[in-house]
């Protein structure tokens, strides 16, 4: 149980190469959606096609060569067509960094599964209960006892 996904992978290619594979519509369809309809650019809402698994409209949040690319979507690549900004979404972020040997580390995060108010971190609830992470820690313990 958690509110975010964090994954990392090291790729033996330059940061520029990896950024292109993520941000270029002709490249991204070779590893992620099968098709893209519409404009794959910041502030636009293109549609990712996943063949028989349906279509998922996304909102491109930011694209900063060659370090950052982010979009919002209905999580899981589930079927969704409509105004992405009018529904609950998660934020998917790719962060690229160059390692000493010239390879590229890709850090992927998907956040916002439980749309927690941002202020919770500073709130008194946080101090009282230790907040989200504390709770999840306790839940993990509970599950481990099953």
């Amino acid at each position: 149980m958690q509110n975010s996904i964090q994954r990392e992978i090291t790729i033996n290619a330059s940061r520029e190469r990896v950024y292109k594979a993520i941000s270029d519509p002709e490249q991204v369809v070779k590893w992620f959606p099968e098709t893209i309809e519409g404009n794959y650019a910041v502030d636009e809402q293109p549609v990712f096609g996943f063949g028989d698994h349906g279509k998922n409209q996304v909102f491109i949040v930011d694209a900063r060569p060659h370090e950052y690319f982010a979009f919002r979507w209905v999580p899981g690549g589930n079927h969704f067509l409509g105004d992405v900004l009018s529904v609950d979404t998660t934020l998917v972020e790719f962060r690229l960094s160059e390692l000493q040997d010239g390879s590229c580390k890709v850090s992927l995060s998907e956040t916002g599964f439980a749309s927690l108010p941002a202020e919770i971190a500073e709130s008194s609830h946080e101090q009282n209960s230790g907040g989200w992470n504390f709770m999840l820690g306790r839940l993990e313990t509970l599950f481990a006892g099953d």
Binding site: N3, R7, V18, A21, P75, G76, F113, H125, L142, F143
Partner: protein, 102 residues
Amino acid sequence: MSVEAIFKALGDPVRLEIITRLSDGSSYTIGKLSEDLGVSRQGARKQIQTLASADIIQLHPAGRETRVSLNTESLQQARLFISQLEQQWDQRLLALKQLSED
């Protein structure tokens, strides 16, 4: 109950505090659970109802009282959903690696 509904129900500080209290596995009466939440009793009751509707907690009548306990199955379902998404991302990132290294 959909995972989306479960996550939605988790997205509130008062509801999270309620789950935190229940997460040691014990059950509380509604009255006891509503204490010191920083909201009125009515407000607390409403949040408890929301959690019950999302199947995150269970209400058991016990005499004149109602006892509340955590439904770990729902939370496990949410956790399973997350771990499936993690596997999906791992597969996608592997495909990104293969493409980039070609």
